[in-house]
Every structure is written in structure tokens, then in C-alpha cells.
Amino acid sequence: MRDPLAGLWFVPLSVISVSAYCADYLTVSQAQKAIFGEQAIFLESPLELSNDQRKAIKKAAGTRQRQQTQAAWQVMGADGKLVGWFFVDDVIGKHEYISYALGVSVAGEILGMEIMSYRESHGDEVREASWREKFVGKHLGDPFKLDEDVPNISGATLSCRNLLDGAKRLLVIYDLYLQQ
């Protein structure tokens, strides 16, 4: 069942243009280049998800797909061939929500994660490359457990857990609706 209150504080990403993201650390464009490089071409392809699709995502990922519109971009290489997908997503932090970007290969593996905004009292380490690199190569066959897949950061356990669960949820979306 759709959470009737979710809409009160999660602004649908579909109404936000690329330039309107209030990123504390990275803009969408910067995150795209950080994960896929300067030569990649991005085609904005937001996903409109029905309630049934969101239920299916919840069932497969174990966490809610709150937004009806998932911000996503097809990513093409310089030769015009599809090399993966780029997502921008929000997860719940201790006080505010954390905006992050995830790159997924056509094989369904994580290519990179970038933290776009993080405003919590503890856990700035989530921005460090050494922590984010633990996500690279993860796929749906991995357990997605804290301290197994990625290390926990004390004082930011909820943030780490929700980022890990969020990455899994985006892989599920790719697996269910985008994989060709």
C-alpha cells in the first residue's frame, strides 16, 4: 500500500530539473562525469512507476520505492552504444534525506556511487572514496549487508544501511524494468 504521507516530504524527482538539484557536494552533471567519465553521453529517461511496479520493487528489494518517478539517465559511450544507467535517488538519513547517484553497467553491476548531499551529525566518511569504492562491482547476487558488503560507519549506521538498501533497490529497478 502506498504510504500516504511520503508525498509530504519527498518531492518527486520528476519535477526537478537537472540544474535545480541543491547538491551540497556534487551536481548531477558532476556526479555523472565522476562515475562515467567526460566522454559519456546522458539521455534523461525518468521512470514512471505504477503502484504494482513499486510493490514488485519492495518485494524484491525489501525496501520501499517511495517515489513514483525514479530519476534515471541512459548512458552512451562515445560510439553511441549503451554502456549503463545513471540514477539519482534519496534515502532517509538520521535527520534529513541523503541524495546520491549510482551508476549501473548493462551487466547489472554497480560502476560507482557518489554522495550528492549529506547533512548529518556523524558519518561524513560516506563521502570518502575508500568507503564508496566498496559498492563497485556489487550486483543482486551479493548479500547487501552492512559489514559484509560495505563497512558500517559508527554514528551513521542508519545512513549506511539506507544507502546500501537504496543501491540494492536501484539494481532491482534495473533488473526488473531496464535490463535489455
Binding site: 509530504l8 516530504w9 535527520h95 547533512r119 548529518e120 559489514d147 549506521t157 542508519l158
Partner: protein, 285 residues
Amino acid sequence: MSAFSLPAMAGESLFGFVKGAETLPEGAGELYQKVISRSDKGTGEYEAINWETELEYGITDRFSMSGSFKMLSLDTSGLIIDGYLPKEEDFSFKPMGLEAAATYMFLSPAKDNFGLSGQISFDYSWLDTHSGQEKDTYSLELDAIAQKFFLEGQLVWGANFGVETTYADRKEIDGLPADFDWPTDPEMEIELKFGTGLSYRFAPNWFVSLEAYYETEFETEVGQERWSVFAGPSLHYGAAKWWATLSWLPQMKGGGEQYEGQEDTDLHLIEKTEEELRLTVALNF
């Protein structure tokens, strides 16, 4: 007549009474200022304010320690209770006690799905929190603290169970009527506490909560001396460097000993009041 306890903190608190199971990470500190207003005993005027300044520090990622300093403001008139309220008082910010606490997190609510911590606290006070009279009170309290996140942390459940043992020794008061009961022999008491609450994040940084807590006290002479249930809402704001929680907790039901002439017999109004207002402001570093 045990010490009125202001629970030692265990990190950020979404509730007024119920504590959370998460401890501070290693090397992190938090400074709390707690204010609890207790008012209205049904007769006369009674307004007590407990002030507590507490510093908590994360020794490891699972173990934190805290120390606090307590003061009392009291304004009471038109109400004398045999054995409990011997005199009218009117004073502010009188130092009344010290407390030290240690908290260990066995399970993390975010990592292990169900959070569980244990807390031990030792309290020494030299003023009676109810009457403001001189009384040496030593209390040892053990608490089990449970917490669970739902909806990725948008909904939070918490529950606490505590046992407090108290040794108290009143000082003599000059000028009391000959028939006024003010025992100065040391007394021992045991208090049980149970609280639970739900908190919902309705906007970034903002939580609204509902909680209830039950307290009962036993002593040798009278068995169950008192019990009471308080329940009410809280509003919490949390930011990166500070947070605050405001709670209104009226007494819903109570029993045990009553004072002579007490009109509302569904409440315990000797050691408790009809209203509690709790405010905690914290800075983290």
C-alpha cells in the same frame, strides 16, 4: 520516597521519557540541558522544576559514559502533606545532586534490525526532589533499552524497562508540629519503570511522538507505595549539530498512597503531579 529520576541520555532522544538504544560513536560527545516542570498536586500551589546538565562521551562505538549535575527550583504553598511536604518552599536553582551513567549497546537498531542497550546509573542527591528538604539519597538504576526502526527509519519504536533501588536518609527539620510525621530513619525502596513510544518523521528534521510510561514503587512498610501512568505527545527537531525535544506528559492514572483531603483519587499526587512538561536541548561535537 525515591529520587525523582531524569533518565540519563543514550544519544539523541525522540521522546521525553523513553530513551533510544543507540550510543554515541567513539570520540563523539553530547552536551544536554534538560528541564522538567512538574506542576499541580490538586490542592494549593505546587511547581517544581528539575534542571540537569549532562555530558555524554563515546568511549567506544558501543560504550558511552555520562555525568550530570542537577538543580531544583520549587514553589509550593497551600499544601502540607504529612510525611512528605512539611513546609512551604520558594527557591530557585538550588544544587541538588550528581549522577553518573554508563551505557552499552548490545545490538544496533539500524544494523541488527532490533536495537538493545543496557544502562547503569548511580545518583546521589542531597535535596528531596518533592519537598526541597535536606535528604541524602543514593540510587542505583539498571535499564534495558529497546529500539526498532520501521519504514527505513521514518517510524521509530522505543521501549525501556528499569529497576531503581534507593537508600534515603532524611535530615531532621526544626519547628515541625509534634504530631507531624517526618521519619529520619534510613529507608530502602525499589522502583520499577516501563515506558514505550512511537515516533514518526513527518518532515525532514521533524518527528512527532506519542509515549506512555508507568512507574511503581515498593517499600518495606506499605508494600506498593504508589503507581502512576503518564502519557502524551512529543515534538522533536534534529539537525547536524543540535537537537531538541519538547514533551507534554500529563498523569493519566495513578494509585497508592493519597494525602488527606485529596480530591482526585484516580491519580497519585503525593510524589507525582498532574502535569509534566519536559524539554531537552542537546549540542553534539
